[in-house]
């Protein structure tokens, strides 16, 4: 009996030891809103800092944090400093489950901001809904984020992959008519939504292949596409797999025109993964809806570069940094709009009200009935190792709306770089 008792006692002691760091949870503020005090608002995110999708994406959260530090140094928002807790999930949906629970239940964050990944974030939607946690600006273009009835607190950020697919396919239809078009995509909602958009414009593709991030080999897929005689290959891939696809194709002397989804097209990240083979990217067509890093004259880029130099240790400036800071800018705008008495319902209402003017080339679609992010994108082409915009931005929806050019004057950031109320 003694041995039993000792073992049980030891178990309790261990559990208690595990609890000891529990006191750190933010003391609740004025209205008892989790993660909010009079001087601070704590938000959390899950990001692939390690694992198959870490290339490039691991730079997003530090950039978001850097912009928050910049805002904090300018006095914060409504007297509150913004603090961002970043958890690594390694792009593994099982880890996301754990880290998001930790953020919500233990760290008591106010909201989850910009959680990254279609397969990863899909698994925590129900948990976040049950706990009524605002789930803002998910870093993915899956259409799952736009289900206002089912998930009233979840909002997207990226143009959804179907919208993007339609716009990329329109380019192919107009400029590469008569060529054999094929598709390689991630074997989840990312790939499927993208393909749905492409096929809405082009009809069925000549051949389609898929890959999983846990298996870093696309040899069989590229071989099959070559055998099918593809002349255009449209990719719905994360950056590591964009590089892998382009590299593998070159190895087997397969030289199609690549057309790549925005999330897998950052030239800096893909170029780094390709190493000496980076020139293979020349001529790749992709899309973007935020200013490009190479556009030195753009006031947004100037602002972000300044913040990056001062608060992000002058990290190598790529599209991931532009992305991270644009998310931060939008969150700060939402905080401003939600007002001094910050509540979870308040910020959701503020996002729904929309009217945000920011770095995006096309408008955000947020409304009572629409929770998807940017409504379009502009085409880019890699020339001399740099992505450059061509044509005009296009907007459309994930249904049957036509792909239409969008003409509106781009706004410039406020003088001090912090959005006003």
């Amino acid at each position: 009996m003694k041995r039993t008792a000792t073992a049980l006692l030891a178990a309790v002691v261990l559990l208690a030891a595990g609890c000891s760091d529990d006191g750190g949870g933010g003391s609740s503020g004025s209205a008892d809103v989790p993660g909010v005090t009079d001087t601070e608002v704590v938000v959390g995110t899950h990001m692939p800092l390690t694992g198959p999708a870490a290339a490039g994406y691991s730079k997003i959260a530090p950039a978001t944090k850097a912009y928050f530090d910049f805002v904090n140094a300018n006095g914060g928002i409504h007297g509150r400093k913004i603090s961002l807790k970043v958890k690594d999930d390694g792009y593994n949906p099982a880890n996301t489950q754990t880290v998001v629970r930790e953020l919500v239940l233990q760290d008591k964050v106010f909201a989850i901001l910009n959680g990254l990944g279609t397969p990863t974030h899909t698994g925590v939607l129900d948990f976040l809904k049950t706990n009524r946690v605002p789930d803002l600006f998910v870093a993915s273009g899956s259409r799952s984020w736009n289900q206002p009835d089912k998930y009233p607190g979840t909002f997207g950020f990226n143009p959804d992959y179907t919208v993007e697919g339609k716009i990329l396919a329109t380019y192919v239809k107009e400029n590469l008519a008569g060529k054999k078009v094929c598709f390689l995509g991630q074997d989840d909602d990312f790939g499927r939504d993208s393909l749905a958009g492409i096929e809405k414009i082009l009809g069925p593709v000549a051949a389609k292949q898929s890959y999983v991030t846990s298996n870093p080999n696309v040899g069989p897929q590229m071989g099959a596409l070559k055998a099918a005689g593809c002349q255009v290959v449209m990719l719905a891939t994360v950056p590591g797999f964009t590089a892998l696809s382009i590299g593998t194709a070159a190895k087997i002397a397969f030289k199609p025109q690549f057309v790549v989804s925005n999330v897998g097209a950052d030239p800096t990240t893909v170029g780094k993964a390709l190493g000496a083979a980076a020139p293979l990217m020349e001529g790749v067509v992709a899309a973007n809806y935020l200013p490009l890093t190479t556009d030195e004259a753009n006031p947004w880029i100037q602002l972000y570069k300044k913040v990056n130099a001062e608060y992000n240790g002058n990290a190598e400036f790529d599209n991931n940094i532009v992305y991270g800071m644009s998310v931060a800018y939008l969150f700060v705008q939402s905080l401003q709009a939600a007002g001094k008495d910050l509540t979870r319902e308040g910020i959701i209402d503020a996002v729904k009200k929309n009217g945000f003017q920011g770095p995006g080339l096309v408008p955000l679609r947020f409304s009572d009935t629409d929770h998807s992010g940017y409504g379009g994108t502009q085409l880019t082409k890699i020339e001399g190792g740099k992505a450059v915009f061509f044509g005009t931005p296009y907007t459309t929806d994930d249904k049957d709306a036509p792909v239409a050019p969008h003409t509106a004057q781009a706004v410039t950031p406020p003088q001090n770089g912090v959005p006003a109320a």
């Binding site: 178990a11 529990d22 800092l49 694992g51 593994n92 239940l105 397969p119 948990f127 989840d188 898929s210």
Partner: protein, 343 residues
């Protein structure tokens, strides 16, 4: 298997729940321990904050599989590196059944039945293999999970996995407390069943087969049948554990059942003490505590790159230290004896 035998011979006191009891130590009725454990868990679920309850539930789910595995490896001498795959079988069965019929008790039952059937198939093959070949076979099972989910992606939805539809917990019970209750109910029932099983004739058969197959055969024990049965019992436990994990995470994906999980399970029962159900409890605790600990360590060190990788290092170090200090595992440390000597 031979090294397990050597470990036993080396004189390390591997505590054996069903070992011949010395006159000094009377055997405690297993049911008392289980009731005490249930009371303790119930009390803890009211004391702990939600996230700790979630972790407590995870310990319970792990205990199901470690208990089954320690019986298989410690008492029957079969090494399985594929229990992660058996857990995945249970988890996917629960997910598919839940999404179709939304009847939780039935889904759990189905998960256990299906995993038992899969376990029987693997067990039949495993009973013909010895040592490294057995390890190789079970390893292959563990590795095949992601490929199966991406090959049959219409059913299993590839890397993204499936989400599990769940009814809200009854009444006003918080979700995390409900999870802890269910997981520990599963764990305690599993442990009780295993104790009853290994204390009886089947336990003696298993140990006889482990120690010397020829001698066991001479004694009239059907070696192959015992081995297959041991594997099947252990698979049923793994199936329940997997189903509990699916219930806990409200989703299943191949990433939740990687090869490292199977390896961690074996490490956990070795650290805890092979063949001991208390060792299985220690192992289950470590499986939850060590990754959490290493993550907070990495966070304090300020290196995000470490976060995903430190757990492996910590586990390895703990294994080395425990094997040096207490070769029979954590469960072999007798606090009472230490106290007595001090007195």
């Amino acid at each position: 298997m031979t090294d397990i035998k050597q470990k036993q011979k080396s004189g390390a006191p591997v505590p054996d729940l069903a070992a011949p009891v010395s006159a000094r130590r009377r055997r405690i009725p297993a049911i008392l321990v289980i009731v005490a454990g249930a009371a303790l868990v119930l009390a803890l679920t009211y004391m702990l904050p939600p996230f700790r309850n979630y972790q407590l539930a995870t310990v319970g789910a792990y205990l199901c599989v470690t208990a089954g595995l320690t019986v298989l490896t410690g008492l029957n001498g079969q090494l399985s590196l594929g229990h992660g795959a058996l857990m995945a079988t249970g988890a996917y069965t629960l997910a598919l059944a839940q999404n179709k019929w939304l009847n939780l008790p039935f889904s759990f039952l189905l998960a256990i039945v299906v995993t038992t059937a899969v376990g029987a198939v693997i067990g039949l093959a495993a009973a013909r293999l010895r040592g490294p070949y057995l390890a190789g076979l079970t390893l292959a099972v563990a590795i095949v999970v992601p490929s199966v989910t991406s090959t049959f992606d219409e059913t299993f939805n590839s890397d993204q996995g499936l989400s599990v539809v769940l009814d809200p917990p009854p009444g006003t019970i918080p979700m995390e407390r409900w999870q802890a209750w269910l997981c520990w109910a599963g764990a305690l029932v599993t442990v009780l069943a295993l104790v009853l099983l290994v204390r009886g004739r089947f336990g003696r058969d298993m140990r006889a087969v482990r120690d010397d197959e020829t001698a066991a055969k001479l004694a009239g024990i059907n070696v192959a049948r015992t081995q297959v049965l041991a594997f099947v019992v252990s698979a049923a436990c793994a199936g329940l554990a997997g189903a509990l994990f699916a219930f806990l995470a409200q989703s299943v994906s191949p990433g939740a059942f990687p090869l490292t999980l199977s390896l961690f399970l074996v490490m956990a029962i070795v650290i805890g003490g092979l063949g001991s159900l208390f060792g299985a409890l220690w192992g289950a605790l470590l499986l939850v505590i060590l990754p959490t600990l290493s993550q907070s360590l990495a966070e304090e060190a300020g290196s995000h790159r470490l976060e995903g990788n430190l757990a492996l290092v910590v586990f390895g170090v703990v294994l080395v230290v425990v094997m040096l200090a207490a070769p029979g595992g954590l469960a072999s440390i007798r606090f009472t004896r230490l106290f007595r000597r001090n007195r």
